[in-house]
Symmetry: C2
Subunit: 156 residues, 2 copies
């Protein structure tokens, strides 16, 4: 995967946490995701399509998801409920939307977000895709953004 | 959600299992997905975007996923490995692609599929969306297709 696709999502994640939540994210070294790495407890998934196809996964530990929802709702939810699901879906939407705006010329649009919960779920990309994982540290806990993008090959 | 969006995916699922796998699916009554229903052990997720935004989730029990991969690979995989992930991702891609072709005028394109594994994962849509679940029975076990589509409101 072309590394030029990574930076826009990296920057959009940092900017979103900064402006929406006043939460400083510290980026750690990106790595290539392998299939059997467990994911976070809550993951927002959103598809991208246009001149390239892609998926962005925003993975949050439970406490990060709770804090994100608490700030968006101005009230701490009791549990990982539908309000937290909505907040994490909206977060994925904002990060994917922010990232794609910098990929000018790709004419990409976003799908609906879905949110996966469950302690031992594993999110896997097709093996022809090499998804890049960008891990971040924050005062609330770890955040990971995974981006997999495939340029469409023109029809012969 | 407009029910006209459901039938194309229902028909695409039946046709795909019939033509690719010679497997007859029997449709049961569709229902509205609620947030806390557990999903199947393997789920293929694919986004749609265009004049509407959507997500299609193809949920398979373990044995159905294994049979799908066995037929696509012409060899039974040892476990839910990367070959099974690819087969389930491709299945989601074919069903979503088949469904969207019947939604003429929506100009929808598909994102990359992702595949979720894990016994107790839960896939949730934003609460403003009312996803429809279509359950099917087959000789291999149950299959569920969930479709959530949101028509975009034009900018004012």
């Amino acid at each position: 995967m072309n590394v030029q696709y990574i930076n826009p999502f990296l920057l959009a994640t940092i900017a979103t946490f900064d402006t929406m939540f006043r939460c400083v994210l510290t980026r750690e070294d990106p790595y290539i995701k392998t299939s059997d790495q467990p994911s976070h407890e809550v993951s927002g998934i959103i598809g991208l399509s246009g001149k390239a196809q892609g998926t962005v996964v925003v993975g949050l530990d439970r406490e990060v998801a709770m804090k994100v929802a608490e700030i968006m709702l101005q009230e701490r939810p009791a549990d990982i409920n539908s309000e937290v699901i909505d907040a994490v879906g909206e977060l994925a939407n904002i990060i994917a939307g922010g990232g794609k705006r910098h990929l000018t010329g790709m004419e990409m649009s976003v799908s609906l977000p879905t949110v996966i919960t469950g302690k031992h779920h594993c999110i896997q990309f097709p093996s022809k895709i090499i998804p890049i994982c960008i891990p971040f540290r924050s005062e609330w806990g770890p955040v990971t953004v995974e981006v997999g993008i495939s340029e469409l090959t023109p029809n012969p």
